[in-house]
């Protein structure tokens, strides 16, 4: 990257070059991410359409491909209603916090060997920390709207988010025990070998728990009680319109993609080729790692959409029961099992 851009970078004084390089890298993540978010909404409508034997958006542009842009431009020109009873400052801080939290976690996500903006040693902790910051946005949005639906939606959403965050944290402890590193790149490297060395198999319960918690964390169906459109209309963001609403949508889909990326990194070998260690390895060696990474993210995103088309919504008490009484005990048991396995060097997976 630095060599490739060196003629351009030489235009800038010595001290600024690094900063410019970082900014370019960040733009290379944020702008494609926004486009990916736009097309995830399109893909969602299209896929759910096909699953329900209809076509989905197909009028705006060829195959409906301009639909997400039409939506964004429409929302840009929509009035931003400021509820008279709302606390104005907090009302507009909340969506900014949520989108901020959904974006900054991408700083430590590696797309290929060395392709990461910030190669931080405590990457996993960082991801957990900024992931948790989104809960502030939800609570503040619900409270500041000064509407009963929003308040209840915000409380419900925050309570179930933190419950599933625990399950996620415990699942990550399992990944840590296997990889012995908090650095996301090291975690992917520790999975090299073959497809059975990826942590999805040795840590199968953790993988399942992590992905289910991820779906719940992002308020996606079947865990979308926070915005349950038929009960509390739209939950914590019921009072938001226009661009305020766009920020919430953007954050939701960006964190969906983030959860998919993190699941791919921690359980599905990140940028590693699935043919590693088999006779097909050399035949597929020409495919760059980033393509594998994107393919894994796409498959996991498809699962998100598939869940939405398939499952009915959980009831709130069922959600809390699943989080506290099923997922957390499962991870606790697996931490003990894995601790013993690591100590006795059992199996081929725990070195």
């Amino acid at each position: 990257m630095a060599e490739f851009l060196s003629p351009l970078l030489n235009l800038f004084p010595e001290g600024l070059r690094e900063l410019i390089l970082i900014l370019i890298q960040i733009m290379l993540i944020v702008l494609p991410l926004v486009i990916a978010v736009a097309y995830t909404t399109y893909a969602e409508r299209k896929i759910i359409g096909y699953m329900q034997v209809r076509i989905g958006p197909n009028r705006v542009g060829p195959l409906g491909l301009f639909q997400p842009f039409a939506d964004v431009f429409k929302l840009m020109f929509k009035e931003i209603i400021i509820p008279s009873a709302a606390n104005k400052f907090i009302f507009f801080t909340a969506p900014v916090i949520i989108l901020f939290a959904a974006l900054v976690a991408w700083a430590v996500v590696p797309f290929d060997d060395g392709w990461v903006v910030a190669d931080v040693n405590a990457g996993l902790l960082y991801v957990l920390a900024v992931g948790a910051a989104g809960v502030y946005g939800v609570i503040l949005a619900g409270w500041a709207s000064n509407s009963k639906y929003a308040l209840l939606g915000g409380l419900r959403s925050a309570a179930h988010k933190i419950a599933y965050e625990l399950a996620m944290g415990f699942a990550l402890v399992g990944v840590l025990m296997a990889s012995q590193s908090l650095n996301l790149q090291d975690i992917v490297r520790a999975q090299s070998g073959s497809i059975v060395h990826w942590y999805w198999l040795p840590l199968l319960p953790m993988f399942v728990v992590y992905f289910i918690s991820g779906v719940a964390e992002t308020n996606r169906a079947p865990f979308d009680i926070a915005e349950g459109e038929s009960e509390i209309v739209a939950g914590f963001h019921v009072e938001y319109s226009g661009m305020g609403f766009v920020l919430f949508m953007l954050a939701e889909y960006a964190s969906m993609i983030l959860i998919s990326a993190l699941t791919a990194i921690m359980f599905l070998g990140g940028w590693l080729s699935p043919f590693q260690g088999t006779f097909l390895e050399s035949a597929f060696a020409w495919i760059p790692g980033i393509i594998w990474m994107f393919a894994k993210i796409a498959v996991l995103l498809f699962l998100f959409i598939w869940f939405r088309a398939t499952f009915p919504r959980y009831r709130y008490d069922q959600i809390m029961r699943l989080g506290w009484k099923v997922l957390i005990p499962v991870t606790l048991v697996w931490i003990v099992v894995e601790g013993v396995a690591v100590y006795f060097k059992l199996g081929p997976w725990f070195a």
């Binding site: 900054v104 040693n121 209840l152 402890v173 809390m320």
Partner: protein
């Protein structure tokens, strides 16, 4: 070591700027025609009959407390998990005891019904 965090800081600034600019475009481009009825709290068409700054269920508080306890537990588990290979059997047993104490607390809250929602 710490200089690895410079990109994170820059990312913070960019993300914040991006979010604010997004919000700002809405304010610049969109019309603004306030109306008393339009700006009133949305309650499915009815007039709001009291303020939403109301009492809420104590169980949300309970969940938050439990979250703090278990999040602290995760904070203790992380460093242990990273060096598990080096600390050997003693470390394993020590964390086993710690987990056991927490599991006893967990069973207690389960039996007490702190996790029930009906």
């Amino acid at each position: 070591m710490l200089e690895n965090y410079l990109p994170v800081l820059v990312f913070f600034v960019v993300a914040l700027g991006f979010s604010l600019v997004m919000l700002l475009t809405g304010f610049i481009l969109a019309p603004r025609r306030p109306d008393k009825e339009k700006d009133s709290p949305y309650e499915c068409g009815f007039a709001a009959f009291e303020d939403s700054r109301m009492k809420f269920d104590v169980r949300f508080y309970l969940v938050a407390i439990l979250f703090i306890i278990f999040d602290l537990e995760i904070a203790f588990l992380f460093p242990w998990a990273v060096v598990l290979d080096e600390i050997g059997g003693f470390g394993l047993v020590a964390m086993g005891l710690f987990l056991l104490i927490l599991v006893i607390g967990f069973i207690y809250e389960w039996k007490k019904g702190a996790l029930e929602w009906e």
